[in-house]
């Protein structure tokens, strides 16, 4: 039946989109770690990967959005789903921008801060991954959404704490002010990924309540 076939195709496209975002988060962590380890080749690969993933995510979300509108599917949740897709897409956009900034500005990260940046990247990545799991649950099991959302909040908080202590240590060090400000900017850059994930999580919490009604 065409109605069911198309729904399956569309559901798969949404899944692919979420896979792409989750993969983007993993690439982000790998990219930051490669940069910290001064593995230039590995870092260049992650830049190439994230470019591909970001454009794939864009294409998938556009296709899903236009089909939902054209066929007026899920009238009650269409706005929510479109909002969810667009905001989730912002996460991978943020990841791309962040990695590109590393590539363009080549910040000099002293050895004592490498661990902090690594932890911050991991926490941001985990927050984004938990968000993807929550978004997936929204489509199948709205009641399970909250189980994933609490993880998003947990990792975002962790990222906040790591970032805060990292920035304090940076400004307490002997580095010159320009260097300190540059490093703070990069801590903020990495942390923003988890902030984006939390923004989507807040919306998703409301979408999930609406779905349960």
């Amino acid at each position: 039946m065409p109605l069911f076939r198309k729904s399956k195709v569309l559901a798969k496209q949404i899944d692919d989109f979420l896979d792409t975002v989750a993969e983007g988060a993993l690439v982000f962590r790998a990219g930051v770690h490669a940069y910290l380890d001064q593995d230039e080749e590995g870092f260049a690969q992650t830049i190439a990967q994230i470019d591909k993933l970001e454009s794939r995510a864009d294409k998938l979300s556009r296709e899903v959005e236009s089909y939902l509108y054209r066929r007026s599917l899920i009238p009650e949740h269409r706005g929510d789903v479109l909002g969810l897709l667009e905001n989730t897409d912002n996460i991978i956009d943020r990841i791309k921008t962040s990695l590109h900034q590393f590539s363009v500005e080549q910040p000099e990260i002293p050895a004592q801060f490498e661990k902090g940046f690594g932890k911050l990247a991991s926490a941001s990545c985990e927050a984004a991954e938990a968000l993807v799991a929550a978004a997936r649950a929204f489509f199948r099991d709205a009641e399970a959404v909250k189980d994933h959302l609490y993880k998003v909040h947990h990792f975002e908080k962790e990222a906040d704490q790591v970032s805060d202590s990292l920035k304090r240590n940076i400004f307490a060090s002997d580095l010159d002010l320009a260097h300190k400000i540059h490093l703070r900017y990069f801590a903020l850059n990495v942390e923003l990924v988890s902030d984006r994930a939390e923004e989507v999580a807040d919306r998703l919490a409301i979408y999930a309540i609406k779905r349960n009604i």
Binding site: P75, F139, E143
Partner: protein
């Protein structure tokens, strides 16, 4: 030509029925934006036409409710009154029962023609207002609990659930439209069947479309046009005006409505259960408009949702107003028709307790000294006669009704001509036909005499003991007898 003018009010009634009742089957689907109005209107109209033409033709032998009105101009006026009332309610966006507006208009005719109103039909209307929404609400809540559990276990993808709900709304809507057409076409067109201007059409020897089917097709088209042109407003009330409805509950509501009609109004189901020795559901008067509103309200209350009580109040008021307004409008229109246009809106029905009736009453053991003053007189006002019988005799209500029934006068003849040309030999079975042939040429002054003669001629004309299993047989027999009463009656045809 005259029939075409008379037919117009049937078509108007069909149109207003379509404009109002389509909301019962597709209101929630359109209100939740799951099905586009145009798609809903198309599916609804097609299935109404199919239902009316295929299944509705089975009801061609009965005149529908309007059959109670014994003159064509009267039927025209009663149909017009019912149509105007339904149209007015549709303008207000209120879902009402078209059957109730027809019954209300007939009661208006009864008053005008001094005919006797069956009190059961009044009780039936009031029961429908109360019992039907309650049953439907209860079924909707049970279904909702069940569906919620299934969804929790099955965890379908949001898009798959959407596709399934959409399909469900279309399928249930299509079935609902089919039965809407099948059940209501007799009310809209049945009364015009004896005067149908159509003759049978033969399509290259492949199949024949009977005159009745053509007439019903025309009526169904009128219903379809009503759906397309004017049903959106009532759909808005059912599908969102009364309470906010989500797609899955929208499907549950139409399902609950169909199940209510199926379980509590289906004689077929009752017969099936009874013949298999299973307990049956009590048959209660139900109406799809009342059922769908009951389901919406029941489900919203259960889910703790918000109901717009002002809209609910308007709907309830609309239910009460419909039969009353239809009755008053019918009465006024009949007066105009009779006095201004000089049309015969009712035929005078004579009653007499003649010697034949007296003998029959004795056999039935209905005796009262008060009856003597009525003997060998002709009465033309049934309501007056009934009242006088109550006043002057000690007879109970069923006995008075029996006396009235026996006293009804007329002229029936089993004429060879009607036997050859008019009688539907596919419907009247072999044994019954043989009995009719045996009585060919005989005349009767009371129809019960003809019934009695038929019973004596063949057991195929005898009713069976009143058990649930025998219900379909007795119902069929009674509609066959009404049919004979109509086609063999001479005095009405001469007019």
């Amino acid at each position: 030509m005259e029939i075409l003018i008379f037919l117009s009010s049937g078509l108007f009634l069909g149109w207003s029925l379509g404009a109002n009742d389509a909301a019962n089957v597709f209101g929630t689907a359109v209100g939740t934006r799951m099905v586009k109005f145009n798609t809903a209107a198309l599916v609804c109209s097609v299935f109404i036409v199919l239902g009316a033409t295929i299944s509705g033709a089975g009801a061609a032998h009965t005149l529908g409710r309007l059959g109670a009105v014994n003159a064509l101009a009267g039927s025209f006026t009663v149909a017009l009154a019912a149509a105007l009332t339904t149209f007015w309610m549709t303008r207000l966006g209120l879902p009402v029962s078209t059957s109730q507006s027809i019954v209300g208009a007939i009661i208006g005719w009864n008053f005008y023609a001094s005919a006797v109103t069956d009190t059961a039909s009044l009780t039936k209307i009031v029961t429908t207002w109360v019992a039907c929404p309650l049953i439907s609400a209860f079924i909707a809540v049970i279904l909702f609990t069940l569906v919620r559990w299934v969804l929790r276990v099955a965890k379908p993808h949001l898009l798959e659930l959407d596709a399934f709900t959409r399909l469900g709304l279309l399928v249930v809507g299509a079935f609902g439209s089919y039965s809407l057409g099948a059940n209501n076409i007799a009310n809209v067109m049945g009364v015009f069947v004896p005067d149908s201007p159509f003759s049978d059409l033969d399509f290259f020897g492949l199949f024949t479309v009977s005159g009745v089917q053509q007439l019903f097709f025309l009526g169904a088209l009128a219903i379809g046009v009503g759906v397309f042109t004017y049903s959106e407003r009532v759909m808005g009330t059912v599908g969102g005006g009364l309470a906010r409805i989500s797609p899955v509950p929208a499907l549950i509501i139409v399902l609950a409505q169909s199940i209510t009609l199926f379980l509590f109004a289906s004689e077929g189901l009752e017969h099936f259960l009874a013949s298999n020795g299973l307990p049956t559901f009590p048959l209660v008067p139900v109406s799809s408009s009342q059922a769908v509103i009951g389901a919406v309200v029941g489900l919203s209350l259960f889910k703790g949702g918000h109901i717009r009580y002002r809209v609910l109040g308007e709907i309830s008021l609309g239910w009460i107003t419909t039969p009353l307004l239809a009755g008053v409008v019918a009465f006024l229109l009949l007066f105009v028709m009779d006095n201004v246009f000089d049309q015969q809106v009712n035929r005078v029905q004579e009653f007499a307790i003649d010697p034949a009736v007296s003998v029959e009453l004795e056999l039935l053991d209905i005796d009262d000294p008060g009856l003597d003053s009525f003997r060998n007189q002709v009465f033309t006002n049934p309501a007056y006669l009934r009242m006088e019988l109550f006043r002057n005799t000690g007879l109970a209500e069923p006995q008075v009704d029996r006396v009235m029934d026996l006293a009804r006068l007329g002229h029936w003849q089993i004429s060879p001509q009607v036997m050859a040309q008019e009688l539907d030999k596919h419907w009247i079975n072999g044994e019954q036909l043989a009995a009719l042939r045996l009585l060919e040429g005989r005349s009767f002054e009371h129809f019960w005499q003809m019934e009695k003669a038929l019973r004596e001629a063949s057991p195929a004309w005898k009713s069976r003991p009143g058990t649930t299993r025998n219900k379909p047989w007795n119902k069929e027999l009674s509609s066959k007898l009404s049919y004979l009463e109509r086609i063999f009656r001479l005095d009405e045809k001469d007019d």
